[in-house]
Structures are given as structure tokens and as C-alpha cells.
């Protein structure tokens, strides 16, 4: 009991402890703010990628695509226990030219059935003019009979000085020529010697804002059949680039992908004798995380690097506490002698100073986390004020596809940070506490006496 009482009294009385508490609070504050923002950005980015592709993708990197996809789509749709929706997708590259412009732009062409794709991904929510009815996404409002195309938002619109898009009430009438290189099932140019490209005119019907910068600046959605035709995948044996799948809500991602993979392997075996069975060898079954690994991995790496750097912050914390406790213990050696003279054990002395260190860590964490939480609540207002006053933005919105700075604090993250801070304090106090425990009472109590 004396340990708790003395620990509290030492804590309140020793001013240098307050500096240690401040140091801990500052470190915790920095970690809370940066981790919350970073976790929010990474989480937000991952979510956008997830919304972009659905849960699972059966697809190939080859621009030729793979055949017999309709049969596999039927097999998937029969799996009512874990498959919710399926969307076959054409993916290729092409050139986009606005009518009257002689400057074509290279971009990614994605051919979809808007209704099916909306069931599988967050496609519908990315639209501007057909958000509530994705089935009409390819129908330009000025003439629904025209073939529509959906452009990535950065292809269609520019941002103003405040990094905001200017939306009109309906899409402007604009025609685009989209040209693709149709390939045979063997990967050869199917129109070699006769013009090489397939070109069609599409009319601007909507924009898509996925929140992914690369996607929004270089992607155009086309109706599935049109894209299939443009890419030369509409021959006698039709081909497709990928099948996107959405699992039922209670299905775990890994489990769902494994089931799809089993089905695919069986399907591939069954089709082994077919004419274009060789195309099935290039197909992989991937979860959305693996499929979008190249986009997600850099951010995850940054997050990992940040965590490592915070490890160094933690070490600094440990060192600060070590120094403070060394000073405290050297000043308290008389007290230690007194306690030992009344029968307090070495373990008790160690526990006393550990209790003291715990108080430093606990209070420092509380202050740091409270400060961090309040700062995060106001972070967007602070940034708006800084931008309005000094033109400063933490992230230039003309470059980064993000809205508000993420500021939702996760209780789990707070708990981990607080625990780490307390452990760091205990670690920092361990050596001085152990030395305090080892002190001989006679040495500390002999004042101005020889023997």
C-alpha cells in the first residue's frame, strides 16, 4: 500500500516528473494524430479500391482475355450460398479523341453492364447524373438513343482554384472517338493490314468519381457489348478480360476466394479439351486486395515505415523517462534507505518506482490522447483557416484525390498507443528502479559519518 501512496506523492511533488509527463503527452499526441490521419487515408484508399473492383476478380492480365466466360458466370450465379452478384468486364487500352480535336489521349477502356457492375462494385455511387439509376448510365440525357460513355472525372472536368469540381445540371453534348486495337485469340492484331484499329463514336453520358486519382484521370466506361466489339473479343467464341464477384455479406473474403478458385480449377479441367482452353491458363483468381496490390502496397509500406519511425519516437520516450528517473532515484536514495530500514523489500522498492513510472505513462497518455482527439476534431477547420489565410493545404487537392482529412479516432488505436506509452515509461524506469532496489540502506543513511 505504501507503494501507491508514495508513488502518488512523489508524482505530485517532483516537478521534473511533470516534464516527463509532458514529453510522454507530446509523443502520444503526435502518434495519435499522425496514425489517425494515416490510418484514415490508407483505410479510405483501400475502401475505394475495394469499391472499385468488388470482392474477388477472376481475370487475366493478357489483353486477349479468356473464353467460355459465360459458362463460368452461370456456375458462379448458381452458388447462392456465397455469391451475391457477378459482373463480366472488358479491359483494354485505347485512344480517345474529342470531336474537333487532333490530340488523342491514351486511356483504359472498361466495358461493363452497368446494372450487373453496380451490384458487384460501388460503380453507381461514383456516377454524377445517374447515381440513382445506374441502368441508364450509358444514356446521354440529351439523346438517350446515342451510345453513351462514362469518363473519369478528371478527364471530363477541371478543378477550380479551391480544388472543387464544377458540375453542370446535365452533361454537355460532346462526342468522342474511341479507338482500340482488336486482338485475335492468339494475341495477333486482328485487323493487321486493314487499318489496325476499331473506332467508334460515343457520347458523353456521365462522369465517374471513384476517388482513385489514376483511375479518374485515365479511364472510360463503355457498354459491355461495344467494348467487346472494339477489342475484337466478340468473335464466335466470345472473350472477356475479367469476372468481378461480390460475396454475400457473411462470407469471409479469403474463404470466398478459395471457393471461387476451386470452382475455377474444376472449370478449367472440364474445359481442357476445348479449342481456346489455352487462354484459361493465364487466368488468376484474386481477392480485391491482391488484385489492387500494386496500388495499395505503396501506401501500406508508407504506413509501416511510419510505424517503424514511431518506434524511434518510443525509444526517445524511454530515454527521457530513464534520465528523469535516474535523477529522481539519486535524489530519493535517502528515502530508499529509510524504507529498507523499516523492512521494505527490494521488490517493493522496484514496484514503487514502477508504480511511479506507470503514473507518468498513464497521465501522459491521457493528456496526449485528449489533446490529439480535440486536435483531430478541429483538423479540417484548422486546415480551412490556414488555406484561407496563408494559402496552405496539408495535401494539395489539385494533386491528391481526397476530401476532408480523416479524423475519426479508433478506440483500438488509442488503446494500443496508451499501452505502448505506459510500457515505454516502465521500460525507461526499469534500470533506475532496479538500481534503487539494489542500494544498501547503510550507504544511503550514513550522513557525514565515517563508520
Amino acid at each position: 500500500m505504501h507503494k501507491i501512496v508514495l508513488a502518488f506523492r512523489y508524482f505530485l511533488k517532483r516537478r521534473i516528473t511533470h516534464f516527463a509527463v509532458l514529453a510522454v503527452a507530446l509523443c502520444v499526441f503526435i502518434v495519435v494524430v499522425v496514425m489517425t490521419v494515416m490510418t484514415g487515408l490508407v483505410g479510405d484508399f483501400k475502401q475505394k479500391n475495394h469499391n472499385f473492383v468488388g470482392d474477388c476478380v477472376v481475370g487475366t492480365e493478357s489483353l486477349v482475355g479468356f473464353a467460355y466466360y459465360e459458362e463460368f458466370v452461370n456456375i458462379l450465379q448458381e452458388q447462392n450460398d456465397f455469391v451475391q452478384a457477378v459482373s463480366p468486364v472488358i479491359k483494354s487500352y485505347g485512344l480517345l479523341s474529342a470531336r474537333g480535336s487532333d490530340q488523342p489521349k491514351g486511356l483504359e477502356v472498361i466495358g461493363i453492364d452497368p446494372v450487373r457492375h453496380n451490384w458487384v462494385t460501388g460503380f453507381g455511387k461514383t456516377l454524377n447524373y445517374h447515381k440513382s439509376d445506374a441502368s441508364r448510365a450509358f444514356e446521354p440525357s440529351y439523346d438517350p438513343n446515342l451510345l453513351g460513355c462514362i469518363l473519369g472525372i478528371d478527364l471530363a472536368l477541371r478543378r477550380d482554384a479551391d480544388s472543387k469540381y464544377f458540375f453542370t445540371s446535365s452533361p454537355a453534348r460532346a462526342a468522342f472517338s474511341i479507338s482500340c486495337f482488336p486482338l485475335t485469340s492468339r494475341g495477333a492484331l486482328s485487323r493487321a493490314g486493314t487499318g489496325l484499329v476499331n473506332t467508334k463514336t460515343f457520347y458523353y453520358s456521365d462522369i465517374s468519381q471513384s476517388g482513385l486519382a489514376r483511375v479518374d484521370s485515365s479511364l472510360v466506361y463503355l457498354p459491355f457489348e461495344q467494348a467487346q466489339e472494339l477489342c475484337g473479343m466478340d468473335r464466335s467464341v466470345k472473350r472477356v478480360s475479367a469476372i468481378h464477384i461480390k460475396f454475400k455479406p457473411d462470407v469471409k473474403l479469403q474463404a470466398g476466394c478459395e471457393k471461387v478458385d476451386l470452382l475455377w480449377q474444376k472449370f478449367k479441367q472440364d474445359k481442357a479439351d476445348e479449342k481456346q482452353a489455352y487462354l484459361l491458363d493465364t487466368v488468376n483468381v484474386q481477392s480485391w486486395k491482391d488484385y489492387r496490390r500494386s496500388s495499395i502496397a505503396p501506401m501500406e509500406n508508407e504506413q509501416t515505415e511510419l510505424i517503424v519511425m514511431f518506434g524511434f519516437v518510443g525509444i526517445t520516450n524511454v530515454f527521457i523517462v530513464l534520465v528523469v528517473f535516474y535523477m529522481i532515484v539519486s535524489h530519493k536514495s535517502k528515502d530508499i534507505g529509510i524504507l529498507k530500514s523499516i523492512g521494505v523489500s527490494n521488490t517493493d522498492i522496484l514496484e514503487l518506482f514502477s508504480c511511479f513510472a506507470f503514473l507518468v505513462g498513464f497521465l501522459g497518455s491521457c493528456i496526449g490522447e485528449l489533446g490529439g482527439w480535440i486536435f483531430l476534431l478541429k483538423i479540417n477547420q484548422i486546415e480551412d483557416w490556414l488555406y484561407g489565410r496563408f494559402g496552405f493545404q496539408l495535401w494539395d487537392r489539385t494533386i491528391y484525390a481526397m476530401g476532408d482529412i480523416p479524423n475519426r479516432v479508433s478506440p483500438k488505436v488509442l488503446g494500443v498507443i496508451a499501452l505502448s506509452a505506459i510500457i515505454a515509461c516502465l521500460a525507461g524506469a526499469l534500470l533506475p528502479s532496479w538500481q534503487a532496489a539494489k542500494q544498501k540502506p547503510v550507504e544511503t543513511l550514513q550522513v557525514n559519518q565515517f563508520y
Binding site: 529509510i338 523499516i342 523489500s345 527490494n346
Partner: protein, 238 residues
């Protein structure tokens, strides 16, 4: 006389310390026996080894050679836990410089030995008794109005009385006082000696270390320590 009559028996105590490259022999074969209820003063010049002897008797230090038996039990055979309990319950120390904890009040300093021995749960069971006993002791020493004061708010004499109160908190069998009046003026020191005499008259066994023969005369028996050895013993009140 049998061993049972002696509360404390030290035999052949040797103790040395390292001073730089040399080793200094402080105690060179000291024998001392203290009976129950005795008031023994150990007198010697500065550096004669008297405080060292007191610390060894109270298990604050270990001899290089020799044995210390407390109520017939050899202290060297005690585990560290048993020694801690011995210092908490059997022995009370009073130091020259009081050695009170500045962060605790007078009352808390006095009942500290009880608090040190109890867990949180145990403390909640004993705190009423501990506070009552501490108040009783402070009243005995004329400090009932000072219970909430901090040590730095007291005079030297008052602090020493608080230290004596702390030493007596667990009703120890033996009180060890190391120059209890060394830091006090003669009048205040006299007051402390009166306290010790009164305690002894009530049966408390006391061993006191001092360099002042006049203070030693207040004890029942004087033991002189010269160059690490007991030179002669004198018994008062034959």
C-alpha cells in the same frame, strides 16, 4: 545466565570496508549481549565503528565474520524476507538525522511501518488500528496537534519524536538509536533522552549509540568501543 535472558547476542563480529585500494577493519571481534529490558549505550569516538555495530545488530548490514542472535535465532540464517519482517516488526530504528519522508504527513510517517507491511486489502483492514495507534504515540510525545503537518514544518526535537514514534509503531522488541540527540541542542536532546528513559522504564529494550559520555550516562549500561573492539563495560546501578 542462559541465552534466553538475552534478547540480542553478538559474538566475534568483524567488519571491514574498502577505502580505495585499502581495506579498513572497523570491527575486530566484538562481543555484545543485551538483556531484555536493558538500556545499553555504546560509546566511542568518531570512526570507532559504533554505528556499524548498530547497523549489524539491526540487520541493516552484514558482518564479515561472527554471529548475531536475536532471541536465540541467528540472523545470518534468515532469508531476505525474514530479515525484512525482522526490521519491520522486531526492531525500531531511530537515526541522528530523523530520516522522515518529506512527502508524508507526521501521522503517515508514524504508521508507515504498518503500511509497508500490508497489501492494499490488508491495509484497508488495519488502517483504523494503525491511525489510532499512531495518534496515541504522537499524543504520548506531545505531538497530537501536528498530525497533519509535514516534517519540514517541525523543529528538530519534534522530528526526532516522530521518528521515535515510527520506530515504536509495531511495538518492536528492540529499539536501536543512532546518535538520537546528535543533531539537537542540549535542551531538546535532553527531552529525547527523557523519552527514551521513560520507554525503558516501561520495559523497552534500547541500544543507543553516542559519542557523548554525558548522554551515555543516562543509559543503564555503557559499552565502550575503541579501535573496533569492546574495551570495557561499566554497569550503572549496581
Amino acid at each position: 545466565m542462559s541465552d534466553n535472558d538475552f534478547i540480542l547476542k553478538a559474538e566475534g563480529i568483524n567488519k571491514s570496508y574498502r577505502m580505495g585500494a585499502t581495506r579498513v577493519m572497523v570491527l575486530k571481534g566484538v562481543d555484545l549481549a543485551v538483556k531484555k529490558g536493558e538500556f545499553v549505550a555504546i560509546i566511542g569516538a568518531s570512526g570507532s565503528g559504533k554505528s556499524t555495530l548498530l547497523h549489524i545488530l539491526g540487520a541493516l548490514d552484514k558482518p564479515d565474520k561472527g554471529t548475531v542472535k536475536f532471541e536465540g535465532r541467528d540472523l545470518s540464517r534468515h532469508s531476505s524476507g525474514e530479515l525484512n519482517r525482522f526490521r519491520n516488526k522486531m526492531v525500531g530504528f531511530v537515526f541522528q538525522f530523523y530520516h522522515l519522508l518529506d512527502e508524508l504527513s507526521v501521522l503517515e510517517n508514524v504508521f508507515l511501518p504498518v503500511m509497508a507491511d500490508k497489501s492494499i486489502v490488508g491495509w484497508f483492514g488495519s488502517r483504523r488500528w494503525a491511525k489510532s495507534r499512531a495518534k496515541e504515540l504522537l499524543e504520548q510525545f506531545g505531538l497530537s496537534q501536528r498530525t497533519k503537518h509535514k516534517p519540514y514544518q517541525l523543529s528538530g526535537g519534534e522530528r526526532q519524536r516522530v521518528a521515535i514514534g515510527r520506530a515504536l509503531m509495531n511495538e518492536p522488541r528492540l529499539l536501536l538509536a543512532d546518535e538520537p540527540t546528535g543533531n539537537l541542542d542540549s535542551a531538546t536532546g535532553n527531552g529525547i533522552l527523557e523519552v527514551l528513559e521513560k520507554l525503558n522504564s516501561l520495559g523497552q529494550t534500547i541500544v543507543m549509540v553516542t559519542h557523548d559520555e554525558r548522554i551515555a550516562q543516562r543509559a543503564g549500561r555503557i559499552v565502550t568501543l575503541v579501535d573496533g573492539k569492546i574495551e570495557h563495560k561499566s554497569i550503572k546501578d549496581l
